[in-house]
Assembly symmetry: C2
Homo-oligomer: 341 residues x 2
């Protein structure tokens, strides 16, 4: 393996100049720079990140901590973060904290603190104040995505507004009996997402002069099966059947569409269904939804970290934290049928 000395020798300069030429820090004449680059290329030289990190104290590596890997939201955020990091020349070290607390302790004690990473992105993960404090003491920035973390800059869509938008879409179509499939409370201990989406739903109804009907709420976990189960209850009996369902996630909404079909109901003729996410499968199911853009959220998280990690970089826009969302109307929502109106 070629080292910096080999490059220096070949280029006829000192190692200091090689370092400067390749890193862009400090002054190097154009000629010297060209010679160094040619030599480096010829030798197939790549700086040793270890040696570089040791000397600088920076690793150009960020740790990403996720609770799940195989769910759409998480993998999308991860993908966005990865690509953004790559553009900045950073590596991404992945920590998948699947549930149990044992791994978690190891990751925090041994890995994150091992000077392996310069910063941390926590995706929808509860991080204790103590953990945040430790990272802070080490001078490692942390940003959260998709779940509020005490004392940490966090990226998340305005769940209340998103739910409101979805509900208003249904109200605008003329629906009045609108059910909601939301997360159960246990889940809410970590994120306020289910609560917030329910609040947005209720607020939209009230603004339209519709009193929320507790019998039109069904709790479920954020899966197709959960949404299916909940929708069967909601749509099960013809009397008092809602004309529309707003589900807190697309996976739930897809479950609801399938449940409606199972009951012989036509979507959207007999029941309109909307979700939140714009999941991969939503287009296939013609699901009307409010898109959030987890891919961009991951990228945004990286930008925020870069502002702190590399203050020298372009100042960038003044960090607008309002995350975009967008109603995507497809075929699963329509005006209620005449008998319902």
């Amino acid at each position: 393996m070629a080292g910096i000395d080999d490059v220096a020798k070949l280029a006829g300069v000192s190692t200091a100049t090689v370092s400067r030429a390749l890193s862009g820090r400090g002054h190097v004449s154009a000629g010297a720079k060209a010679k160094v680059e040619a030599a480096a290329h010829e030798l197939g030289y790549v700086v040793s990140s270890n040696a570089s990190s040791l000397a600088t104290g920076r690793t150009r590596n960020v740790g990403v901590v996720v609770p799940f890997l195989n769910r759409w939201f998480f993998s999308s955020v991860l993908e966005g973060a990865q690509q953004a990091l790559l553009r900045h020349g950073y590596d991404l070290t992945l920590y998948n904290l699947a549930g149990d607390g044992a791994e978690r302790g190891i990751v925090f004690d041994e890995f994150l603190l091992r000077k392996r990473v310069d910063a941390v992105i926590a995706i929808s993960l509860e991080v204790s104040e103590g953990e945040v404090a430790r990272l802070h003491d080490l001078g490692k920035p942390i940003v959260g995505v998709g779940g509020p973390i005490e004392g940490v800059r966090t990226l998340l869509i305005d769940d209340v507004a998103v739910a409101r938008l979805a509900t208003e879409h249904l109200l605008g179509l003329g629906h009045r009996r609108i059910a909601h499939i939301g997360g159960d409370l246990e889940f809410d201990l970590d994120f306020h997402l289910p609560t917030n989406r329910r609040l947005g739903y209720e607020a939209a109804l009230q603004d339209a002069g519709v009193e929320p009907d507790p019998t039109l709420f069904a709790a479920a976990d954020f899966t197709v099966a959960g949404g299916h189960h909940a929708a069967l209850q909601l749509l099960g009996s013809p009397r008092n059947r809602p004309t529309a369902i707003f589900a807190a996630s697309d996976e739930m909404a897809i479950g609801a569409i399938l449940a409606a079909r199972d009951l012989g109901l036509n979507v959207p003729r007999d029941v309109s269904i909307v979700g939140i996410d714009d999941h991969d499968l939503s287009e296939f199911f013609g699901l009307t939804t409010v898109a959030q853009f987890p891919h961009r959220q991951g990228a945004r998280a990286v930008e925020i970290l870069m502002e702190q990690l590399e203050p020298a970089a372009e100042a960038g826009p003044p960090t607008a934290t309002a995350l975009p969302y967008e109603l995507r109307v497809r075929s699963s929502s329509a005006r209620p049928g005449p008998d319902a109106a």
Copy 2:
């Protein structure tokens, strides 16, 4: 931040002893080891992986290269690999090569070779011989999962056998007109998976004395939408309609189930459907499938790397490369209806 010197001072020993005590290499008396551990704990000392890597030349970090993050197979393998690596005290650096070749070159030239990783796991990714050679020259082991790579130890299920098993299940139920939804050829340039599964399907038919009917094959990409589209063609007209469909993946199979429903056909009464994977959603859809276990495949890949990276470790079983698979019969397959038989 406490360094090794601080620990040495507090424990009243030399840094060499601290290093030995903490790494387990070399001889240290029990007493000294206890003192060192106590001191390290008291100071919250964690070895700097950079300094350690620089001195040893080993990073305890493996690079995982994946083409997609948000597909069930990939994220499952990734999860399995991550957990296995964590158990071995290794980190996982993720490289998501989404399509284009530009990123790819950067990753190989700058990142993987940057002495950042000790080994590489390539998931269903075509790796050129040149790339393999470079890694080999650097002494970095590489193992593939889910796609054959020239000259590299690769983990993948026996696609022919799996397809055969699925097809034989249908044959055993009495089906004779069995259609197949498989990958298209373009996709096959990378992996031989679609071809192999088709071969297994045809072999099973021939062994049962059924001549494969080319009109009962439909190409699709490996998605729900792809399977749906293909199944609509296959099941579209009542004449010559197959009594069963074997899809090369569960996502395709689920698309086929939905297509059957759209056509007013009952699964399994009018048509049986089986897939391959045991995808998360398969249970919900009652899909009969041949489970492969990507999570374990990821873990297995790690074990193989560890055998090379840490020869000192337990010798382990003699590396049986036969990967497990298992038929899971659910409600989507049954004997063909009387009119079909």
